[in-house]
Amino acid sequence: MSHQDHQLDPALARGLTMPRMSRRELFRYAGVGVGALGLSALLEACGTKGVTSSGSSAQASAGVGSQEWWAKQTLHHQLNFANWPYYIDTAHGKHPSIEQFQQKTGIQVNYTEPIDDNVTFYQSKLRPVLQAGQPTGYDIVVLTNNDWPLSQMMELGWLIPLNHEMMKNFDQYASHLVKDPTWDPGNKYTMAWQSGYTCLGYNTKYVKEPVTSVQILWDEKYAGKIGMFANAGELGSIGLLALGIDPATSTPDDWKKAADKLQQQKDAGIVRSYYDQDYIKALKNEDIWISQVWSGDVFQAATYQGYPQLKIAIPDEGAMFWTDNMCIPLLAENPLDAMTYMDYVYDPQVQALIEDYNAYVCPVPAAKEIIAKQLKDPTVANSPTVFPDAHMQSLSRNYYQFKNNEELTEWNNLFVPIFQ
């Protein structure tokens, strides 16, 4: 079996193993004599304590993230890094870029891949722990700008402001696409890990025509062979693109029209299924012929995993551009080690290693030369979805930024019933 074959959907695994109730709550009331309480009192006792009005119950020392605070931090020579699966250079079960980092700095990296979805990761591993005022056990987590957990963590003060004196590589080499971005002005809390496009992927064995428009997802010719994302943000955005509307400037009226358009696609039996990360498996197995995809997944499958018939298409209507961001959760035990690492990956030599495997959108343009000349991989170096040219950048579309929780709820209420 190739390594992709036993990739079980981590969201599922997490769903299966995660307690439905917070464990903390269970133990809080464990000592209460069940029989001694009347039903009503018992039900009352089970209330959950939310975050306090000050925003967060994670106990942070004053001035966290300030220059004085950073000056007091010391290296612990260890680092816990939580990332998404298959998202770093890997050779023979090891990660060369991390090996080099460990040799160079003496910092031992505990690299794990627990993140499969922003919301589930946040709800299960970050929010409950931070709400209890405990460290999460991670020094770096990677969260996407197109989903709400990242902005909520900023709002609640659950991220440590970065030490800008330790961002030499970043300042020198970071692409303008990820420097001072709209979702984190001045890179106060985050540095990009990778960016990417949510675009179309298709199997050239079955789809002979050129794929130039998202309208192909509504083509009855491919009924039952089309995959869509079980993700309200992605689904709604592509519905808007199909109507010729830029998601970033869309209105709730547009959202309703997009939801109708997507419902019609479902009712006509065109969609085979709404997928999580496992869409790529369905695409490889030829269960679906065209799908919403993340650019890097298809690139990896086509280039390294023996599926050259799979291709990416950037439709004329545009493709959604997102960025995964490294950030340091509050109460992280090794913040200085984390900063050291985060800036290390902006070294073009290091980034070239990572990018040559990932093939998402590279945050360091200078890595292009190294991938082409030293690593001798022109496929990656010349790919417009890795190092976007001007045309590609003109097709990049941004996600709608929700102004408040009501908007988010409205969006979800429109698009979730479609895939649920």
Partner: protein, 300 residues
């Protein structure tokens, strides 16, 4: 050798011994009771309580407001998912009973090396539930081992597919829960004294008559337990629907999962769970009435 009864022991000590004997069942039962209280009663009441609370969407602070609106809304919005879950779970349970009964019967009465076949039955459990289901996704894929071959031989139309249908979900559930059905049946059948079957033969019962009048009634506790152990988790399953289902095969478990994880709508999720539990309890109570007038104790 028999010890003479000692009558010289002080009375007080014997009283203590009697007290110990009276307490023994409670002490023995304490760990299980504590376990049940901690891990069943407390979570269940937490769930019921949550279904009556109102939560702030951002801070997740919940207060008990006795707001019962979640219940009618859950039924109104998701009744189709409840029905579908019962349909898939019920069909899978029936398939499992039909498949498992002859299997258990054969192992109990005919097999030479029972433990070997029981091990075979349990072997899939050594592989994770999710991986097993994903393997079926691979085997049943449209151009995979089976369907691809049959399509190449023109025995099946090109657009035929099993995945993304209710059939795939039902079959997946039936496959995954088969050992839960087979084991209780085996235990019940294995306990049957072969001599009662000989007696039936001596009394001129034909083989089929002996099966219907002796074996089957004696197996009823096993059938009941097998049904419970299969049907209840099958109805609440959401993994098979996610991996093997299509756009209109999601079950109520999927909705509950989404409500909890994606929306953190704890009250709605709890209400859905409570309704599912109530529906199952009522169904099981009816079922036990139908299957006989015996008490539950006699079955278990």
């Amino acid at each position: 050798m028999e010890q003479p009864v000692r009558s010289d022991l002080p009375v007080a000590e014997r009283k203590g011994a009697r007290l110990g004997r009276r307490l023994a069942p409670y002490l023995l039962g304490a760990p299980a009771s504590l376990w049940l209280a901690l891990f069943f009663v407390v979570p269940m009441f937490t769930m019921l309580s949550l279904s009556l609370q109102t939560c702030d969407p951002v801070t997740l602070a919940c207060r008990l407001t006795w707001h019962v609106g979640e219940f009618p809304q859950a039924v109104g919005e998701f009744h189709a998912y409840f029905l579908r879950s019962i349909q898939y779970g019920g069909a899978a349970t029936v398939i499992d009973l039909v498949v498992a009964f002859p299997l258990a019967y054969w192992i109990a009465f005919r097999a030479r090396r029972k433990s070997f076949f029981l091990l075979m039955l349990l072997l899939p459990f050594f592989v994770s539930f999710v991986i097993r289901t994903l393997t079926w996704q691979f085997i049943l894929s449209d151009q995979g081992l089976i369907l691809g071959t049959l399509k190449n031989l023109h025995l099946l139309p090109q657009d035929f597919h099993v995945l993304a249908t209710g059939w795939a979900v039902t079959a997946g559930i039936a496959y995954n829960f088969l050992p839960f059905t087979a084991l209780p049946l085996y235990v019940a059948l294995e306990r049957i004294d072969p001599r009662v079957l000989e007696a039936a033969a001596d009394l001129y019962a034909s083989r089929s008559m002996a099966f219907l009048r002796v074996t089957l009634p004696l197996a009823i506790p096993g059938i009941f337990a097998a049904f419970l152990l299969t049907f209840v988790p099958a109805v609440g399953d959401f993994v098979n629907a996610t991996i093997l289902g299509g756009t209109s095969n999601l079950m109520v478990g999927n909705i509950i999962q989404n409500k909890f994880l994606l929306f953190t709508d704890y009250p709605a999720a709890s209400a859905l769970s409570a309704i599912l539990m109530a529906v199952l309890l009522v169904g099981i109570a009816l079922y036990s009435r139908v299957l006989g007038s015996r008490t539950i104790e006699e079955y278990v």
